[in-house]
């Protein structure tokens, strides 16, 4: 009897829950980013206006990717809209895992910053609409720089940046010249390190997709990075990424920080100055490019309603809706996606970093070049990159901590990357 009751109850529960999805409901998978969380509240107006109910599912990046790929492989339907990053958008678009996006004329596609639009397209077709974008830049304490008699200018040389870090470095008083990412991860230390390598004229792969981590450019860049962070960074830098450095900076312990432009909106210390990322004497600057974007998985049964929502959520009107929202305001609007956002006076007043951020994004070049024959700035837009990047990240952290020499770490990185790319079938 007990078993029968249990089975009846379980069946009844499943029937109740199975009946809760209708054609007017969109299920949206998002990463846990502040802008995305805010969107849930701002979108209440969208539901009130259109009657479309929105189900939000917040997922960790890795789980999100895994769920979307398994969903696509099994016919889709689990999510109507997904958050994806700039690394996946062109790959997934080419693979047919996400739908091409075509919006109405009122959307003003030309207002989307070109770097973002290109990075989220494949063969000129947009596959994901940018919801929020970022580059990287130098954030430094003007008071410390002035006291030390140094300055950092836009696209300064690395040598000058190092000299400024050395001048501001005062560990006895708890101040470290340069706070940079050291925690291993393809999106952590490798995001920054890759931009340094780019600026030294290096790249991950050659035109045949063979890794070139044993090149003189990598050697020079990593030696510089280890030297800079090892000598003028806080202790235990191999454990620091965005959050840890943000806390250090807000405690006043960092002379400078080179990281995502979004960091500027979290800084609570006074007297922060901004500069464009340094370079090492070639045209490639050390600033990255990233966007969180919205896409429609192939097989979504509500593709039209999904496209309509994405059009609204990445529109100029959405930016204004956040700016005028009583809970958020102009300091909380998603940036880095539209040129028009930077022209809004209320936004300019609320975000002192706006001009520096826009300049950084506009100068980032995700396209393939002679120096870097693949798409992507701080990553390569190929499916194998997360695996390659993660393996190399561990070696770089080992070099930073002193567990390995830079040369040994690079040799091990080259070997690991070569094995992964060979196994993936890029070459024999």
């Amino acid at each position: 009897m007990l078993m029968r009751n249990a089975l009846c109850a379980a069946t009844a529960l499943s029937l109740i829950t199975a009946g809760s999805v209708s054609g007017e409901t969109l299920t949206i998978a998002i990463v846990n980013n502040g802008h995305m969380i805010n969107m849930q509240k701002v979108a209440e107006a969208y539901t009130a206006e259109t009657g479309v109910e929105l189900n939000w599912v917040s997922l960790e990046e890795g789980v999100l990717r895994e769920q979307v790929t398994s969903d696509t492989a099994t016919g889709g339907g689990q999510y109507d809209i997904i958050n994806i990053g700039m690394q996946e958008a062109p790959i997934w678009g080419a693979a047919g895992w996400i739908e091409p996006l075509n919006f109405s004329a009122g959307y003003d596609l030309d207002d989307i910053l070109p770097a973002m639009r290109n990075g989220l397209s494949h063969d000129g077709q947009l596959y994901a609409a940018p919801f929020y974008g970022e580059s990287s830049m130098v954030m430094y304490r003007k008071d410390l720089a002035d006291a030390a008699g140094v300055s950092i200018s836009d696209n300064d040389s690395w040598d000058n940046v190092k000299a400024a870090a050395a001048a501001m470095h005062d560990p006895e008083n708890g101040i470290y010249g340069a706070c940079l990412r050291g925690k291993p991860g393809w999106g952590d230390n490798m995001a920054f390190i890759t931009t340094v390598v780019n600026s030294f004229g290096g790249a991950w792969f050659d035109a045949d997709h063979r890794p070139v981590l044993d090149s003189p450019e990598w050697n020079a860049a990593i030696n510089f990075y280890v030297d800079l962070l090892g000598n003028y960074g806080p202790p235990g830098s191999e454990g620091n990424s965005f959050n840890e450095i943000l806390a250090l900076y807000n405690e006043g312990k960092c002379g400078m920080w080179i990281d995502a432009t979004i960091a500027a909106s979290f800084l609570e210390v006074d007297g922060v100055a901004y500069a464009q990322s340094p370079n090492a004497g070639n045209p490639v600057g050390a600033n990255w490019l990233w966007a969180w974007a919205m896409a429609i998985p192939a097989g979504s049964p509500n593709a039209d309603a999904s496209a309509a929502f994405i059009e609204w959520a990445t529109s100029k009107d959405y930016v204004k809706a956040v700016g005028n929202h009583p809970e958020f305001g102009w300091g909380s609007v998603p940036t880095g996606q539209r040129a028009s956002t930077y022209a809004i006076p209320e936004f300019q007043a609320a975000a002192g970093f706006a001009a520096a951020e826009l300049a950084a994004i506009e100068s980032a070049a995700p396209g393939a070049t002679d120096l870097k024959p693949y798409v992507g700035v701080q990553f390569a837009a190929i499916p194998e990159f997360p695996e390659v990047g993660s393996a190399v990240a561990q070696e770089m952290a080992a070099a930073l901590s002193g567990a390995k020499s830079v040369e040994d770490a690079l040799a091990a990185s080259q070997k690991a990357a070569d094995a992964i790319m060979k196994e993936a079938g890029y070459y024999d």
Binding site: L13, T17, V21, N32, Q40, E60, E61, Q78, N243, E244
Partner: protein, 277 residues
């Protein structure tokens, strides 16, 4: 003589000290998690605010306002309770049959059941996703209850089998002499005698169901998503925000810790079940 004196001194002071050390070691992560849940994300990573800080409820407010904690908690309660009940309903007769009417294959069956726990879950992720979607069961309470029950069935049957083996078969046979049928043997004799063991098995099964994170994250979207999915979803792309993650984790493990606290007696009873002989 000195040996006896040393042994008794160890019994008097050494064992309690050791027990306290082990207890503190196990409790410390929970204590630290709860403490961190009252810190801001910035304070959570500042060494000078390890112990002394200005407490805030913001992380808990954020959890209930932005993440619909109660929906996840309701799903956790429904799936964990139902799965535990279902597992016991199936597991008790199974363990009874194997404990009191064993065949030559009983040992092999037990080993086979245990071996199913050795299969890496990731190996069957795609078939599970495909089958459950095709059957229209994806993201339903029914599916999660079924999956949790099947995952925990081997361990529950093993535990119950061990407890039931401690009960003298003569007692069951005496019941048979008095005219009890199989149902009566289980409900009138076995369950009352093995209540402590069943209760502790149920509690452990409930804890395993509550904490299960691989399938509950991957076979749900919104309708049947449990607290595991809430925790998973709080990992931000910028890294781990320890304050808010600790609040979500504390709120997720809180109910199970409280339940364990109140059920200590049954747990101890179950673990010392051999005394029934």
């Amino acid at each position: 003589m000195p040996i006896v004196a040393n042994a008794s001194r160890f019994s008097k002071f050494g064992r309690p000290t050791l027990a306290w050390i082990v207890g503190i070691l196990f409790f410390f992560p929970i204590f630290w998690m709860v403490l961190t849940s009252f810190k801001t994300d910035a304070d959570a990573v500042k060494p000078e605010h390890l112990i002394f800080f200005k407490p805030t409820f913001d992380n808990y407010l954020n959890m209930t306002e932005n993440y619909d904690y109660w929906r996840f908690a309701k799903n956790s309660v429904i799936t964990a309770v139902m799965a535990t009940v279902f597992t016991l309903v199936v597991g008790i007769p199974c363990a009874y049959a194997m404990a009191f009417n064993p065949s030559r294959a009983t040992k092999d069956v037990l080993m086979w059941m245990l071996s199913t726990k050795m299969l890496p879950a990731a190996a069957v992720l795609y078939p599970m996703t495909f089958i459950t979607k095709t059957a229209g069961l994806f993201d339903t309470h029914f599916l999660i209850i079924l999956v949790l029950s099947l995952i925990n069935m081997p361990i529950v049957i093993w535990m119950l089998f061990t407890y039931f083996k401690e009960i003298p078969k003569d007692i069951i046979e005496a019941g048979q002499m008095d005219g009890a049928n199989t149902w009566g043997e289980i409900t009138e004799i076995l369950v009352p005698l093995a209540w402590g063991g069943i209760a502790s098995t149920a509690l452990l099964c409930f804890i395993f169901c509550w904490n299960e994170a691989y399938w509950t994250v991957r076979l749900t979207t919104t309708d049947a998503a449990t607290l595991s999915k809430l925790i998973e979803g709080n990992r931000a792309p910028e890294g781990l925000f320890f304050g808010r993650l600790s609040a979500v984790s504390a709120a997720a493990v809180g109910p199970i810790v409280v339940l364990g606290w109140f059920c200590q007696k049954q747990l101890v009873q179950g673990l010392t079940f051999g005394a029934v002989k």
